[in-house]
Symmetry: C4
């Protein structure tokens, strides 16, 4: 399996055009959070903003608006119970990430279906966490014509693919991914996370066990959303997002026994500058 190298960062994180505007860097919708899991929406959308997304809207339960305003004043908010506002947001954003902290309530199920039913070519849908559980449990087909990115950890991938963790080897992963949707991109989160897309398989060798803490996946999803928003959907874009997340984690782990999601998020703009092709 191909090893993703640090060069992917230089390749993807290109200099911005001098005459460009926030509209050039992607409109991103994060559908996330619920009463019990409010932090997931915060970490995901904060990661998207720190990764350079032009405009980020968080669709969540309104009791979380205050926390979002405090932690990420740059984000806009909508109430995901408001069907009309939600549908408008799904149609008007280029990247829709759904799942972090969403839970598996009937409302959450309806949100997943609304995304899959109302997105199309030129949009990208990132399915994470609770959204993956819902898709597995409800056997919801991945029918949208939008680009699809799945970001399961091994247990979620087992539920989605019916592959036991020991069966999650390259060929099986590819085969079962293509059965779900032949054009979907899979980010399989594990020790040395792997990416599957069409007939290509690649993995990172960065990352460390200090990152084994709640919220780390929500953060990765936000970075992927931010990167697709500004650099466009491609295998390379997702590889760069995955690499950056673990690379920052490794830098922080040199001086921190545990690496908190919040500490990774804060460092994204700095490491994007450091590892971009900007000053090369």
């Amino acid at each position: 399996m191909e090893k993703i190298s640090k060069n992917i960062l230089n390749q993807v994180i290109t200099p911005r055009e001098p005459e460009s505007y926030k509209g050039n860097y992607g409109k991103v919708l994060i559908i996330a959070g619920s009463t019990q899991f409010g932090g997931a929406a915060i970490m995901c959308s904060s990661a998207a903003i720190h990764s350079g997304a032009g405009l980020v809207t968080v669709a969540t339960t309104p009791e979380k608006f205050t926390a979002i305003n405090v932690k990420i004043p740059e984000a806009m908010t909508i109430d995901y119970h408001d069907k009309k506002a939600l549908l408008t947001a799904i149609i008007n954003n280029q990247v829709i990430a759904i799942g972090p902290g969403l839970g598996t309530s009937n409302i959450a199920k309806g949100l997943v279906k609304a995304v899959l039913n109302n997105t199309k070519t030129d949009q990208t849908v990132i399915l994470d966490a609770s959204a993956l559980t819902i898709i597995a449990e409800e056997k919801i087909p991945l029918q949208t014509t939008a680009n699809i990115i799945l970001t399961p950890h091994q247990g979620e991938w087992q539920r989605l693919s019916n592959l036991a963790i020991t069966e999650q080897i390259e060929l099986n992963n590819q085969t079962n991914l293509h059965e779900l949707n032949p054009d979907a991109l899979l980010v399989l989160k594990k020790h040395q996370s792997e990416i599957y897309y069409h007939d290509q398989a690649s993995k990172i060798t960065v990352g460390n066990p200090g990152m084994a803490t709640g919220g780390m996946g929500d953060t990765l999803t936000g970075i992927i959303a931010g990167f697709v928003g500004q650099f466009g959907f491609s295998l390379e874009t997702v590889q760069a997002a995955l690499f950056l997340h673990s690379e920052i984690g490794d830098k922080l782990n040199e001086k921190n026994y545990v690496v908190l999601p919040s500490s990774i998020i804060e460092k994204i703009p700095k490491y994007m500058a450091k590892f971009s092709s900007r000053d090369k």
Copy 2:
């Protein structure tokens, strides 16, 4: 078109008189924010306070008070639905900035009219974001005798002036601004933002595309409000505010791929000291 030089900072940011009080540095009212756009009110008022405004009051929807208290405990708050309190605040503040995150609801429209109808000479009204959209859509005349500062981006200026973006050249901008109000000052936000006032046109050549992110305009509005509050309304004051915003953005962009509004705000007191004439 005249290029605004860094000297403008030395010229405007003068040393404070030893025997002076918060009342000497301006009473600023920020009318901003709504359920969906709470962060705009935070960024705008935080920028005003970090820029040195003596006393800042935020008129917003009360569900945002907690986030404001957390992020900027230095600010006071009033409920903009409370007409009497709002009118008192409009009359008692020297600088009124209206628009960031306000939305275009009927309440928002009423707020814009209340500001234009109840301000007068010696006050300064800064019209931004939603307030500009409302003025364009409702064809509200800019009748106040207060100083007027308009801070549209190109799309908002198109709606206000009826000039397509390609038509937004110096002469046209001047002509159409004077039709709106011959004494209004226009800050046209774009790559190399421009300022129009009476027969003068000037532009900055600082700024960078890392600043192309949501909330950057709200932050500029806050800096302008803070500067007018303490240095008085003048072309030079607004030039200095515009310059400082982008100058800090450039400094931060040296080490950060994206420049978040929050990170600019935090650095204002330091850069005001650095670029002021205080130690010269």
Copy 3:
């Protein structure tokens, strides 16, 4: 008038006894804040905690509890509308500071009277901001047998003493203070703030106009409360608190055009270590 020297810090900020507990460093009650002025309660109590108060309780309106929990998790909260809880708190705390952001509602008036009626010898009452306005307007006598500290700015002192600002000279201040209460200590906040106590008058020559911003007085009140809580009531304790507040302000002003209250608060523990007699 005696000039307070930096030595006061060494004299007052003594090393802590190795075997000592939070109970040894004062129980402080801050009665502050209202819907419109939530930040004042935060800045005042945060300053008290950073100054070393052992236990701080904030009596405020419950809508401010979330902001207080976020900004100062070390503080406890009570609802000041709960008369029984409030009375218990007044009786059980050694230092009671009342006024920052309190407003002048009937509830606020009741709170001021409750403090003056229910405190006694060995307690210290700090009357600030709205509490001073209420006392002036309602002609409430300063009858408590507790130590009394008044912290007006010149306008508030005018209302309390009936001395116009130009009349606020040493002899007049002393005379009119003694009429209010012969044992009260007055901190008159101005350029080169002054302290009056019995027949002694002293002033600081530290401080700078970068500190002329909303919330600075609330912060000073918190430092005084924290100092009296741990070092005991005395002229010297209050002198040290006043000096430290402006000394930190001066250090910050070297690199910051404006000095925000939040930035002073954050630095208190460091400057208390630096200027204490601990390492001498």
Copy 4:
């Protein structure tokens, strides 16, 4: 009495296995907080997360969810009034810490009983603060088969053990602890805090009076919970947690007259790296 040495940190804080997941580092439930004492729940759970707990859930009153989401987005929340959700959480977490800021209401009493009645072997229950007061007042037997850690200060230990503070000597502490539960581990918080477990008694000689401030105990409880979650229950694990808390406090006290709980929490990941055996 044995003096706990700094070596305990190297011994306990071992390198993490490269191939490991958040599930390997403990599921921790913090039952804490009430209307008046919201900060305690924040400090305790924040300390657990910064100490490396894999997954932390805070059971508290829902009015505190916003503050928790802001301060520790990594934590999940449940409403402790929801008996079913609470019971599920008690059963599904490996470490349950109960007490910080809980108060002694009937609801709090019910929570303490629910924990003692529904935990068993392989789980660890940490009883702190209000939980200890309730156990003393209600004479609740410590009947669970889970590991038990008691973390009283001297006053709380007096209520639990009926030993006056002057009687709290090694032999008495051991005897009375064994009467409560012969397998319980006691952390007696004082100047040079002591740990009792079976027939072993040990103490730390680190720590300083700058740490004598509200919230310090809540923070220690969080560190113990985080350590037991990832390193397993043992005398050594608790010794390391207690040592680390005071060691960080001593480092901070070198430059800070008072050491706030929040400042200790922030430094935990760094000091765990520094004092671990990782780089040895």
